[in-house]
């Protein structure tokens, strides 16, 4: 059966929400500026999503072989 190993979209969303929460907390503590940080680093979410899609593909292929 060709079931996905995990959901890349769901995992990306979860990690992004955690990161947003951490950044927002740090911003509330006065450690960083939230909006400039988000404006600079948001493409990391795309990179993470793409990497997870590739990992998911590799895991599915290897599980099908074994």
């Amino acid at each position: 059966m060709n079931r996905p190993a995990f959901s890349p979209e769901g995992l990306t969303l979860g990690v992004c929400l955690v990161a947003l929460g951490v950044l927002w907390t740090l911003a509330n503590m006065g450690r960083l500026e939230l909006l400039p940080a988000l404006r600079t680093w948001w493409p990391l979410s795309l990179v993470l999503w793409g990497v997870l899609e590739l990992v998911d593909l590799l895991v599915r292929r290897s599980s099908r072989r074994s």
Partner: protein
């Protein structure tokens, strides 16, 4: 069948009893109970008039976030002076969001009925292109944001994307034709 002799006066024997239907007819869908499908594709598409809401209805929360932010982000970037290519993204994302909600609901219904969902069939065509594209776009924008790359200077090269996509379609078409096999091939003379 009864072994009684035929009596034309008897109301019971006025019409001969029909033979029992064959087993195949007993399993016909006419007698099957009505099955209520879990999702309505029409409702999912209708809800998607607000981008992402149809995916929420389908229980695909991550997709809902992706479509919502893709739509809002395209509008924001268009309004902030990047008309190209984000103005083209707005209708594309909007229509694709509606189609995706429809297909998602159809796929969930198919899975409910024990079949294979349309999206699972699609994902059967596995390719690293999607993941690689996401990584490439993310890295390009990140490098631009960090000042290590100037995307504005690369803007004149955007038609190369059309070339790449067109070449990919040609390649995929040729591969598909090869994979469809020799069954469709005309007999050689």
């Amino acid at each position: 069948m009864s072994s009684q002799p035929f009596d034309p006066e008897s109301p019971a024997s006025a019409i001969p009893a029909a033979p029992p239907p064959p087993p195949a007819l007993l399993a016909a869908p006419m007698g099957a109970p009505y099955v209520r499908l879990p999702k309505s594709p029409g409702l999912a598409a209708f809800l998607s008039l607000f981008p992402g809401l149809g995916q929420v209805y389908n229980g695909q929360i991550a997709r809902a976030f992706v479509f919502f932010f893709a739509f809002v982000g395209s509008i924001y970037l268009t309004a902030s002076g990047h008309e190209f290519p984000f103005a083209f993204c707005i209708p594309f994302v909007y229509l694709f969001n509606i189609i995706d909600a429809w297909k998602g609901a159809t796929s969930l219904n198919a899975r409910f009925l024990g079949g294979k969902g349309a999206m699972e069939e699609e994902s059967g065509v596995e390719s690293p292109v999607w993941g690689g594209t996401l990584v490439a776009i993310g890295l390009l924008v990140l490098l631009n944001n960090l000042g290590w790359l100037d995307l504005d200077r690369l803007a004149r090269w955007w038609p190369s994307l059309l070339i790449l996509v067109g070449a990919w379609f040609v390649y995929a078409s040729v591969q598909k034709r090869k994979a469809s096999g020799s069954a469709d091939e005309p007999p050689s003379l």
